[in-house]
Symmetry: D2
Subunit: 345 residues, 4 copies
């Protein structure tokens, strides 16, 4: 089998470095370049000493990277706006693209503008490409992903909320209210320095942020939930900062016309043949430690007694199933490789 | 001013040791004895080396302790059932008692039996004392606490949920739905060894447990909320295990006929003169790190836009305002001492 | 290539579970059984939910396990004494054995007795097998390991101290004094519950234990250092408990007739072709985060100015290169498999 | 008793905020101003929400602060160079000063220049004041501190190394070799953002830095050890970054003509009447958790068997006994207040 030749933009972000590690050990991939704006000409392993011996390449500039030929697939771990802008010429060349930024996730350009644009970036950098993009939730868009040239890789929180809920909506369950109380490890906030992620302020601390209807992952969740429900869905989304490196756990409260046991049944059936979704019993609730460093998403349903809401609990590694692992899973699908290749560890 | 002479039962629990530390530095208190079943005749400071030089007393057995005279106030940090049983003779002597266990918190004996009794302890050990007990939520029962001889010190989660909600209900706000998604540091699970609180299993992990309507703090919350609402209240309570030593943060979703700003106003007014409740703005949400090692409870309200639930966020130290600090605050009230004595640090 | 058929004794220990994970993804291995005294007939994945879908086998008793045929290699993750005792019949069957306990590490039976025997276990369970055992420090005993039937897999601390020092001694460097100040993550203390590894006591804490010349890994280090030096070596070994799950970092002070740069050179040359040892520059000192979840050992040398000791810093994952990873590396060597198979992740 | 009126420069550093908290609850102190260059005109409690209700003052600029009268004592938590420069006019006014920076710690101006000066700050800002400064190691310079106008508050690592060793040297013990292997919580690195103290890089990580003879606290230790020994002392100092918020533990290896038991005896006698030094038995080694949030330094001696070095283990809270607590202790001594005032908690 010919190796898939890949390039990585934004390789010095946490998602970028995780992707490099996984791709380096992927049996059917060769990494052609790693790229970084800030660390051009330095070795990636000088920024991430953990990668010494795994990838010893020098980082090239994004401009040089997108000008290069010789790759079959480009992963972008760049921030939104920057990502779409740089990817335009790549896509022009017929190369397949997996974009881990938010740029191609939102189907409605006005929703994108409302949540992502500001004075500095007043417009979407490539609106004409939006309709070519496929939302890369592997278990739900596998068929389209296989034929796509642009994958909009879902947000980490988003994946943790959609995987338990979409099978219910697709299965005809009526859901009246959705509250997702999510908790994420600090790597989800990225490698950039901020006061609230300075060790002495995040450690032995726990806090809520952007709760209610303010976090940028909200419209992405609502878009996909609405599509599955066949009607507009509005929801509460409350992210919290968890003093761990990796892992998201979402506790999701729903008012539904089904018991927790019925929900378990529906979701279990839906994911019966999926290698990366594990549906658990209420006596064995998901825990972040069971999924970190893997591409698994664990799900369980409980609650719903005494007329109270049903509760879904889901967990995944924000850097793996929530980002780079799912990106690689999507690449496997696009190139007809075994879907679990490079993801079993 | 004569010193209040106190004794501590269960001094080798986490709440017991925290209480000893605070009482040792209290200007109007003298510790007459510290007691422990498991470590009788050992120095408390040999179990908690941090207390060396702060309290060097030998631990006496609970049986010896309750037989002793010469104390004005007894704190019990024993587990439920054991606590009430041991306290009976103490109360007979006219000594004031602050019980940190659940034994006197539930006013309805049948509710107590349903949630706390089992084959080993089929009955409440002292049902005749229930009506003498005052629920020790200091800010809400101050007048009764001042005259009480038995204080049922509230649960840690309970305090974090009641402090933001009671002023709303007392202020006439109609609340239809309550979901408390709470996260607690591991010291809340006590000093006893369990697999899920073994360091390598709790660290870099996050999990939900007893979620829905299963945790023993649920009936205690529902009891007080119902009293304030003037009608039965049922709620969802979802505790989670947070990989920190101390601190509880509750994210509470309510459907109310008020905006978040109105809730803030009502609660701010209610606690205007309270030394230990700080009501914050939505731009400055409570964080556990701001309250640990103190007797503060921080509260804020946000959300409620787009027809979605209002969200209360509250935080406190489970060992201080959630247990020993509030116990000491109640003692101050009972003995007419300045309410903040021994609590400013 | 035929798969190597393996069995794992003590599969519910931390090293056992880590080994199962690695072996499950090893391309040339099939796991024939997983065994546990305490959890017989339960699924391994019910004890370690993280392994769901990776290994779903029921645990069998050690007695049943050692009676079974059909395996080429048995890994023992049992405690010392228990391990050698159970392995005797296995070895009799001509099966190859990798013992992760201390039972076959100490070549001198009297040294073993001094450090490991007590009233309960007054003798070594299988002294006649001692001379057949090969010390499984892969990089230093590769030739013997390839032909061995019993591998005594080295201790975690031991590996972190020997890998930097042995090449110096073998290269003729004279070392007068050795002080190893080592720090280990809590998983090194095992899965059994103890007060000092209870989360609230280990978290936000740091402590020394068994420092000086008291820890059981000391004689194992001294044995191998003495062999390499060609004369008796005595050393100070000071372990500390680090509030992380995984990772050992050893800071080793030596008085040597070489500079740090010369030591770097010697060690770099020694490990030039080794896939799992990375020798770093003093400007890029080893950190535990760079090696956890991998089979790498990172090493650097610095200090030695102003007439002061040279300092070696080494780091590895106590559960991987310090235990199960090295065990698997040794199995690869014994069965002629590629040495890195199953270890790249 | 008239209150001591104090001002704090650099109040938004970690040591500054800790000092404000302690001073706010000190019975004989009134805080006249809090100052910060970066956050002028903001409330200190907006930067440290934990201080809400404890100190609600607006921050004034350092320039305004040093121009103000009406204070008896100024604490500087500014960085070196900036600190001495700003303090010059204050000292001119006869106000007492406690400087937590390194500016007045080094008695030999050339040593200061070698370790602290660079192109940007080529000279000491106030060399003429050096001889007026007293080294503020409270237990060793109490007499001089009582009469001093400038206190050079010792470094955190320095205090942890000097407290166990000085009594030995003063007691005539001959020490040939000193290696201090120290581990510090991340708050010791300050509030400024750096990549290595970004949560995801410091958490679940452990690393050495500036080890050997490179860290700026080395000359300060050597200066005081040399004074006590009556001859030049050179030592190895190896700091490490510990993934905890607070706490330093130093493991100190010495070659001495005394056993560990004899060292324990000498040091116990020396500190017999000290409220903040606790000398422990080898069976009860110091742990950081026993001293954090307090002004204690815990010390024990062990090792020394088999001809190996004696080992001192010491621990303190880097922000309390290692900085602000000792600063406050020094203020108490300077103003004739009870030495433990404001420090018991």
């Amino acid at each position: 089998m010919d190796k898939v030749r890949v390039g990585i933009l934004g390789a010095t972000s946490y998602t970028g470095a995780e992707l490099v590690r996984m791709l380096a050990f992927h049996p059917h991939v060769s990494i052609e370049y790693v790229s970084s704006q800030s660390y051009e000409r330095k070795a990636l392993s000088s920024i991430f000493p953990a990668l010494t011996g795994i990838n010893n390449d020098l980082l090239i500039s994004p401009q040089e990277a997108v000008g290069r030929g010789g790759v079959d697939c480009v992963f972008s771990c760049l921030p939104h706006a920057a990502s779409a802008e740089l990817l335009v010429p790549v896509i022009g060349k017929g190369v397949k693209v997996v974009d881990l930024s938010a740029d191609f996730r939102i189907r409605d350009i006005n929703v994108y503008k409302k949540w992502y644009c500001d004075d500095k970036h007043p417009d979407h950098p490539a609106p004409h490409l939006l309709e070519k993009a496929v939302f890369g939730l592997s278990e739900h868009y596998r068929g389209q992903i296989a034929k796509a040239s642009i994958i909009a890789n879902p947000g980490c929180y988003v994946t943790s909320v959609l995987l338990p809920l979409l099978p219910l909506l697709k299965g005809g369950v009526c859901i009246d209210m959705i509250i997702a109380d999510s908790k994420s490890g600090v790597s989800g906030a990225g490698r950039g320095l901020k006061q609230n992620t300075h060790f002495p302020e995040a450690h032995e601390n726990f806090s809520a942020y952007s709760i209610g209807h303010k976090h940028r992952h909200t419209p992405e969740m609502e878009q996909e939930l609405s599509l599955a429900a066949g009607k507009p869905v509005t929801m509460t989304f409350s992210p919290h900062l968890l003093p761990v490196n990796r892992g998201i756990l979402s506790t999701i409260y729903i008012t539904a016309n089904r018991t927790a046991a019925e929900c378990t049944e529906i979701v279990k059936k839906f994911y019966a043949n999926e290698p990366f979704v594990r549906v658990r019993e209420p006596s064995d609730l998901p825990q972040t430690a069971n999924v970190v460093h893997t591409n698994y998403c664990d799900i369980a349903f409980t609650g719903g007694t005494d007329g109270l809401p049903v509760i879904a609990v889901s967990t995944l590694d924000n850097l793996v199933k929530g980002a780079s692992g799912q990106a690689l899973q999507n690449m496997n699908i696009m190139f007809g490789l075994p879907e679990t290749a490079g993801l079993m560890r």
